[in-house]
């Protein structure tokens, strides 16, 4: 579903792409920039949240600054008909921060991706083992790809680009 965004919605999203003004009445300040009332800014934002265009509103942390440096993309080769059930199992583990189904590619047979962001590599590896046991997957049918460097990590950009969750 793509909800129709009108020009004012788009102007509002653009005005907020660097963040909310950190003042007592931020929505009034944004409205003043755009020539619309505080009440209209509030109503529009509530609708954009309700329809999922804004998926979260609040503090976006730099997880590396908070010590989350053991960032693992854990990938699984799972029979296609079992992917839904496996994802449900994975979601029950609070340390799984993101979970996606993605296509297999030549030389790449893994079709379920889970992200685990942790502070210690050993802890993350133990979490992967617990997850693997719960999924009933052979060691040979998964891989753990720790990130070794983050070259670019940008917040939401509603112009050229926008991304959202640590990938």
């Amino acid at each position: 579903m793509t909800p129709l965004l009108d020009l004012r919605d788009r102007a509002l999203l653009t005005a907020l792409e660097d963040g909310l003004p950190l003042v007592s009445r931020p929505y009034r300040m944004v409205g003043d920039q755009l020539g619309i009332s505080e009440g209209e800014v509030i109503t529009r934002l509530q609708r954009l949240i309700a329809c999922g265009v804004i998926r979260r509103f609040g503090a976006v942390v730099r997880h590396r600054a908070l010590g989350y440096t053991a960032n693992a993309m854990v990938v699984w080769d799972i029979a296609d008909e079992r992917v839904d059930a496996a994802a449900r199992t994975a979601m029950a583990f609070p340390f799984v921060t993101l979970c996606y189904r993605r296509p297999r590619r030549e030389g790449w047979r893994y079709n379920l991706f889970c992200m685990i962001h942790g502070r210690q590599r050993a802890t993350v590896l133990a979490q992967v083992d617990a997850l693997r046991a719960a999924l009933g997957i052979d060691v040979s049918d998964h891989a753990v790809l720790f990130s070794t460097r983050a070259f670019k990590q940008r917040g939401a950009r509603y112009g050229a680009s926008m991304t959202l969750e640590p990938a």
Binding site: T2, P3, L5, L13, L16, E17, G19, L22, S24, R25, P26, Y27, I42, L45, L48, I49, G52, V53, R55, R56, F57, G58, A59, V60, V61, R62, H63, A65, L66, N71, M73, V83, A87, R88, M91, L98, C99, Y100, R101, R102, P103, A143, F146, S147, T148, R149, A150, F151, K152, Q153, G155, A156, R157, A160, S161, M162, T163, L164, P166, A167
Partner: protein, 147 residues
Amino acid sequence: MDDIDRRIVNGLQGAFPIAERPFAIVADRLALSEADLIARVRKLCAEGWLSRFGPMFDADRLGGATTLAALAVPAEDFERVTALVNAHPEVAHNYAREHTLNMWFVVAAERPERIEEVLAAIEAETGLAVHAMPKQQEFFVAARFEA
């Protein structure tokens, strides 16, 4: 960062009030003054604990698109390829990872067709095959970090 800052970071990763005085509402919950909360959020941004404070958008619902993509980059070529990939403004995240496919990046664009153009450009510039892995299904999104 003190204990109050930690409570702010832990408690404010979503569901910020959309109301006339949102900081006053949150400050009340945390037993702080509105002015103190605002000053602390400013400081947390300035010191780099928070990258921003505000909305996170869903690119797909904006009519845009995102994809994850991977490259197998020869070690001696890593710096050159990194520069070429990161030069594209549509590349939002880029990580080196431990695998034959050792560079993983996210491309986000306002138009789905633009994704294809960017991936084609990266293939042409780097001479490497781009493995695009767009999400087919999203099961869970709840990245939260404890300060």
